[in-house]
């Protein structure tokens, strides 16, 4: 089995992460219950006429993928694999709204065409002229990890050499509105620095696109090695510690080998206890980090966690703002990322310094 490396990253998030030279030196603090990304100048990457037709998620995805590809120094890839929990929500809402409002008359195809879940992956392939393997995963909070798992196995088995993967989700107005009604979005505005102390239900809804070039060849500028990822449709709090140790064991490691644990806490009082099981239990002596106060919650938010792990391992620095406890390491060697959303669709992802 070949080793797999992260050779390029591109992040569009609610922080200024599209600039690959920066690493959270300046952090934007929000006080809201829905937050939106810091837009790069899309026109620097996409012809303005094309950009005008694209909903935000498509733009974010196209640009994040271009940043990642440029960062890797490659001109093309063998395959494109994306993950998106909700797909092209804005175009779906637009088409459906018009359909209902105009009683199925006067509809035009553009927003229907762009509402398809694989629009971003298709557009990237079209832009690159990439005729290779092209998949899109749409499974809630493991959409990105499904794309990762797929890429990882193809690269490990040397079926392909360079694969572009990414997680994209955009905020649709109606989607936000109805998720407020069922309290998946927090009722109140929360200051991002106080997210974990909110003591309330729901999360701060957000959006973003994070892309990566994965390769089975190490480069001088490689960020990290990616060892494994595993997902679970269900997992109880009681079974979580055992699932982690089995996952580590399969990768010939144990808890002591993990020097940094990155958790997906989103301040939802009902579901953060999953993370507490680890932070107060088997990993209490491990350096712990979190990130959803920076990027908000969306189905592919773990792709931001993946970006964080990549940057940590490459720069060997831990920004103060992501620290969850006071433990510090001498350097960062092995990182474990754990996430779940509303108690379902759990994922573990394991990285190593390269």
């Amino acid at each position: 089995m070949k080793k797999v490396y992260i050779n390029g990253v591109g992040s569009i998030s609610t922080q200024r992460t599209f600039d690959n030279k920066a690493f959270l030196e300046e952090v934007i603090v929000y006080e809201d219950n829905v937050i939106t990304v810091v837009d790069p100048n899309y026109k620097d990457y996409i012809p303005p006429a094309a950009a005008r037709r694209m909903a935000k998620g498509i733009k974010m995805g196209m640009v994040a993928s271009k940043i990642a590809l440029a960062d890797s120094g490659l001109e093309n890839v063998d395959a494109v694999i994306t993950g998106t929990g909700l797909g092209c929500t804005i175009d779906s809402e637009k088409f459906l709204g018009k359909l209902i409002d105009n009683k199925e008359e006067y509809l035009t195809p553009t927003s229907f065409i762009q509402s398809t879940h694989n629009t971003v992956a298709g557009q990237i392939a079209l832009g690159l002229g990439c005729k290779g393997y092209n998949f899109t995963y749409v499974h809630a909070s493991i959409s990105f990890e499904s794309a990762l798992l797929d890429a990882l196995s193809q690269l490990q088995n040397d079926e392909e050499n360079n694969i572009l993967i990414g997680g994209i989700d955009e905020s649709g107005e109606q989607t936000i509105k109805i998720h407020k009604l069922i309290h998946h979005v927090k009722k109140e505005a929360v200051k991002s620095t106080e997210l974990l102390n909110s003591g309330t239900e729901g999360a701060i809804f957000s959006e973003g696109a994070n892309f990566f070039v994965l390769s089975n060849k190490k480069q001088q500028n490689s960020y990290a090695e990616i060892i494994a990822t595993e997902t679970f449709n269900t997992l109880s709090k009681e079974n979580l510690p055992l699932a982690i140790t089995s996952f580590l064991k399969e990768n010939k490691m144990d808890i002591a080998d993990i020097d940094t644990l990155i958790l997906g806490n989103n301040g939802d009082i009902s579901y953060d206890p999953y993370y507490h099981i680890l932070s107060e239990g088997s990993f209490k002596n491990t350096q712990q980090l979190y990130y959803k106060h920076l990027c908000g919650e969306f189905f592919t938010a773990t792709s931001f966690g993946f970006w964080l792990a990549s940057k940590l391992l490459k720069t060997q620095t831990v920004p103060e703002v992501v620290k969850l406890n006071d433990l510090n390491n001498n350097g960062i060697g092995t990182v474990l990322l754990y996430n779940q959303y509303r108690g379902e669709n759990h994922s573990f992802t394991l990285f190593q310094k390269c």
Binding site: G122, Q123, Y137, F232, N233
Partner: protein
């Protein structure tokens, strides 16, 4: 030497039958499931025809024994019914006894409920339980729950009309790489106003029965369906001395990289997908005995796919082919798994199902689909699924490993 992945169970619900036997009976009797739409109130009802499943949502809930509080969308219910049949045929009793995963595919997901309650959600709280059922992954979570799959790999693919072919492909790779011992793979899509109107704006819906590969084809009929296969590792098949229905021998996915919705005129993506699948199966194009074509009966698809056949097989050597879309309509994300079931049935019965409604050969080439039921020894069948976003997939099924 490439070994095929064993298929030990299959299940299906479509406009031509509620299980495998009923689908087979309709296929051999030339009984199509295309009619006027009855379950969705749309202004296009007299202008289109669809492949609709007879059961109402209430009847489906009854079949599955769901409580009145359930929030299953129609896609999830159709999927659960087909997946349960597949697991039963594979004779699986303790689903978590081995590493068992589920890979489903959908494009509609819970859109049927979202379009019903889009404004209602805001006005009253009666139907808000369906808000969480909108996203595509939710239907798969529900199918997993119905099958009792826990703490395992459960995911969803959405690559438009090639989705279910891709879930079968991923499943095969998960078995090959040893990540799973067995996996239930397939797809489900229900009819919705959203897709009806979407395809209507693209002006590719026929106002009558669809006629694949016919010179005068007028477009597609949308359909709803779900189908699943059970794939198992060689070790499990041997240990359980299991009956193998057929083997998935080859698979390939490629992108046309030509246009967001249309296929390239020369069928680049389809050609690449078929070539990849033949390479993985390690067989010669001459060994393909029958092609179950994507054949949607749109002007663009049938021309592009036909040209791809010629590129892969040579104009005079294209194997017998037919599209079964005239029976079921185009079932979108489910089509790849519906046609996988039909390909396996073809192998099991040494029968090629006719391409219904064909009259006039297309002028661009000399290809004529198989229009009569034909019995012949079949060993290897190829099935195509081609979709939006240039997504092209091919699966090859074989009697032998």
């Amino acid at each position: 030497m490439n070994k095929g992945i064993a298929i030990t169970g299959m299940g299906i619900i479509s406009a031509i039958g509620n299980n495998v036997a009923e689908n087979h009976a309709s296929l051999i009797n030339g009984r199509k499931g295309i009619s006027r739409i009855s379950k969705i109130d749309t202004i296009h009802k007299d202008a289109i025809m669809v492949g609709e499943i007879d059961f109402t949502n209430q009847e489906l809930e009854g079949h599955l024994g769901l409580s009145p509080e359930n929030n299953y969308c129609r896609t999830a219910m159709l999927g659960a019914i087909a997946a349960k049949q597949a697991v039963a045929e594979a004779n699986i009793h303790d689903i978590n006894a081995h590493k068992t995963g589920l890979v489903s595919a959908t494009s509609v997901g819970g859109m049927d409920m979202t379009e019903k309650y889009f404004y209602d959600y805001i006005e009253q709280d009666t139907h808000r339980k369906y808000i969480e059922a909108h996203h595509a992954g939710d239907s798969t979570q529900k199918i997993a729950e119905q099958l009792g799959i826990e703490q395992s790999l459960v995911t969803t693919i959405s690559t438009a009309c090639s989705s279910a072919a891709n879930s079968i492909m991923l499943g095969a790779r998960l078995i090959k790489s040893g990540k799973l011992d067995r996996v239930i793979v397939g797809g489900a899509d229900c009819l919705s106003k959203f897709t009806i109107n979407g395809f209507k704006t693209l002006m590719i819906l026929s106002d009558t029965y669809n006629t694949p590969f016919d010179e005068n084809r007028k477009g597609l009929n949308l359909g709803e369906a779900a189908a699943f296969l059970v794939l198992e590792s060689e070790t499990l098949v041997k240990a359980g001395n299991k009956k193998v229905l057929s083997y998935l021998k080859g698979y390939g996915n490629a992108n046309d990289a030509y246009h967001q919705t249309a296929s390239s005129e020369n069928g680049d993506g389809a050609t690449l997908a078929m070539e990849k699948a033949l390479r993985i199966a390690n067989i010669n194009p001459r060994e393909i005995d029958y092609i179950n074509a994507h054949g949607t009966a749109t002007a663009n698809n049938d021309l592009s796919e036909g040209r791809a056949f010629i590129r892969v097989f040579g104009e005079n050597n294209v194997p017998d082919f037919s599209s079964t879309k005239a029976y079921t309509g185009h079932t979108l994300a489910a089509a790849g798994s519906i046609e996988a079931v039909y390909s396996i049935l073809a192998l099991q019965n040494n029968t090629i199902y006719p391409n219904l409604n064909f009259k006039t050969q297309m002028k661009e080439f000399q290809l004529r689909p198989q229009t009569e039921l034909k019995e012949k020894e079949l060993n290897t069948v190829l099935s195509n699924s081609l979709g939006f976003g240039g997504n092209c997939s091919t699966l090859i099924f074989s009697k032998n490993a």
